[in-house]
């Protein structure tokens, strides 16, 4: 039964939530503001930045002239989408087996997979770098796709496992009784029912892969560098590059921000799934 909430409380909650939302969003807003300023104006006092200086697209032009944005963008798309798709191909059967044919070690396996996310990435940087060197995978999109898939695989499996657990096993049993093979059971029965959950998983993992900045910077040079490397090329402790850095950041986050905006319903559902039983 819903609890009665007074209008005053509603207004107060809205104000608090709006303020918190604005505070969380403020850094991004400020990056957008600075990206439309000259370097000299970008370092002025905040109020001067907002009201006493002109607006310009110069930083965007300068960034585009110095860097090949579309090359970095296409690398980001290929790596983010590729690693998510590859992860799904491995995670769907894994999550299926753990959700519908659990053994006494299933919980331990799930916890072990999650524990790999707790390892600081830098701890395995040198071994992975050496493996990449020996297999000629340094600065290749395929190498990065595989690494990001491996990094996000525990999350993909966990999310799919949680979704699959919500699907009644009887439906799968019925399909088996109707003569469906394992492959048909997964592709034609399980997957359509789990599509909303899989959509959330895909979206979240594309965002995680898009924003990943440790491996994408450390394992690339000129050919496979995605937008994270594009941003860092405008960061400098010497000289003024705030406006250009902001412009590069806006160009890098805009595609994923737009995607996230349009799919926020699925995203929120994916992130909160299982919270209410």
């Amino acid at each position: 039964m819903a609890r009665a909430v007074s209008n005053r409380t509603k207004t107060l909650n809205t104000i608090v939530a709006g303020t918190l939302g604005f505070l969380l969003f403020f850094p991004i807003l400020w990056i957008v503001v600075l990206s439309f300023k000259t370097e000299e104006n970008a370092i002025r006092a905040p109020l001067e930045v907002l009201f006493s200086s002109g607006w310009t697209m110069d930083s965007f032009s300068a960034v585009q002239a110095r860097s090949d944005y579309f090359k970095h963008f296409s690398n980001s798309v290929i790596i983010a989408v590729g690693s998510t798709v590859l992860g799904l191909i491995i995670a769907i059967p894994a999550a299926w087996s753990m959700a519908f044919v659990p053994s006494k070690h299933t919980k331990n396996v799930l916890m072990w997979m999650l524990s790999t996310k707790m390892l600081p990435p830098v701890g395995v940087l040198v071994p992975i770098y050496l493996l990449f060197r020996d297999f000629n995978l340094l600065d290749t999109r395929i190498g990065l796709t595989v690494v990001l898939m491996l990094i996000n695989l525990p999350i993909i499996i966990w999310m799919l496992y949680t979704y699959f657990k919500e699907i009644p096993g009887e439906i799968l049993e019925a399909s088996r009784m109707d003569g469906a093979t394992l492959r048909e059971e997964i592709i034609y029965v399980l997957t359509p029912m789990a599509i909303p959950g899989m959509a959330s998983t895909v979206l979240l993992n594309i965002i995680l892969a898009w924003n990943e900045a440790f491996w994408t910077i450390n394992l690339t040079a000129a050919n496979a560098a995605p937008l994270t490397a594009f941003i860092t090329s405008y960061s400098s402790p010497e000289g003024l590059f705030y406006a250009k850095l902001s412009a590069a950041s806006v160009m890098a986050i805009a595609p994923i921000l737009i995607m996230g905006w349009f799919s926020q319903k699925q995203l929120v559902r994916g992130l909160t799934f299982g919270a209410v039983k």
Binding site: S67, I217, A221, P237
Partner: protein, 442 residues
Amino acid sequence: MSIKRTLLSTAVGFGFATTIASMASAEEITIATVNNADMITMQELAPAWEEATGNTINWVVLEENVLRQRTTQDIATGGGSFDIMFIGAYETPIWGANGWLTPLNDFADDADYDLEDVFQLVRNGLSADGNLYALPLYSETSFTFYRTDVFEAAGIEMPSEQITYTEFAELAAAVHDPDNGMYGTCQRGKAGWGENMAFVGTVANAFGARWFDEDWNPQLDSPEWNAAVTYYVDLMLDSGPPGASANGHNENRALFKDGKCATWVDATSAAGDVRNPETSSVADKTDFVKAPMQATAKGTGWFWSWALAIPASSKKVDAAKSFLKWSTSKEYFELVGETKGWVAVPSGTRQSVEEDARRVEAAPFAPAVVEAILSVDPADATLLPTPYTGVQFVAIPEFQGIGNYVGQQVAAALAGQSTVEEALANSQDFAVREMTKAGYIK
């Protein structure tokens, strides 16, 4: 007719052979570099080299700390991701001695290149065991930037001879006027061996301190270090801007150019930017004197050089050397001067460039920069004897970790989170532990 045909066919054949040869030798090289004004200029001018040689360049531009970590990892593992790396005076001798860099001694025999024209100090700083491992783009020491108009208004004349840090603190306090947006001095406070410790390291040298004694025992708990760090903290609290522990080179440069600082002891390479009326509001109100001294004048100005080196793992050494030769040659500096203006020419590297009349006219401070650079001796930068070289850093691999840790401790003392004594005691413990682990001491 037959002679014509022969000549024509010979010319076509020669042209064809040349094209084939250039196609065969055309290489694609990858350069890892930082994002600063000099390197952006190089990126803009590099197509001239690409057109002349048929080679192409992939630029990998990274933030300085990321570049340092990325190149260290690649070179230490022999990854071979880069053909040229933009590295500093700290890494070059260490990496060279490890056999990670390609020796560049053959440039000494190249009369066109004229290696002798590069300042001896800079060549020495980029060498190890008698081998040259990198060619410099620009070099810097530190000196004092001061506002002539502020001192004039306060009725104070800045002495032209080297003053002491005690006198410097008095001058900074005299012109400190925070209510009117003028801070007596702006110095680096952001933690890091290349940030606050660059300045603090030179102050420590001036106060007679040293990082290690002759047997590599850390000396951070010495009275000299205590005096130096106490002086630094007091100076910043008395005459510095608020929140100074967050300010690095970049922030201070912006503050100084915005007219908020009366004095600033920092890199000579910032002089051109500060004196450039297009980028600075204090271009015509800034002058320079030597960095202050105290118990000694040794090691009071740091030494740093950004240079280009070829990793030993590169498979395109010839093309890389060709680019190195072009990008650090007299012709390149001339090209920068003609296209970007002589004030923007990378400074502190070539004697002929610094003495060029066009350079002196555009950058009247150039002789002061040269004088400051020539007064530095990384091999003799402390009052007491040491087993190491380096002014603001110690040229051993362990220094990066130690310097960063001490930098954090000093920044904490500046922010009021600990006392100077605590900061230095922690630093000493850390340094002893690291040096013991590395086998320098038992």
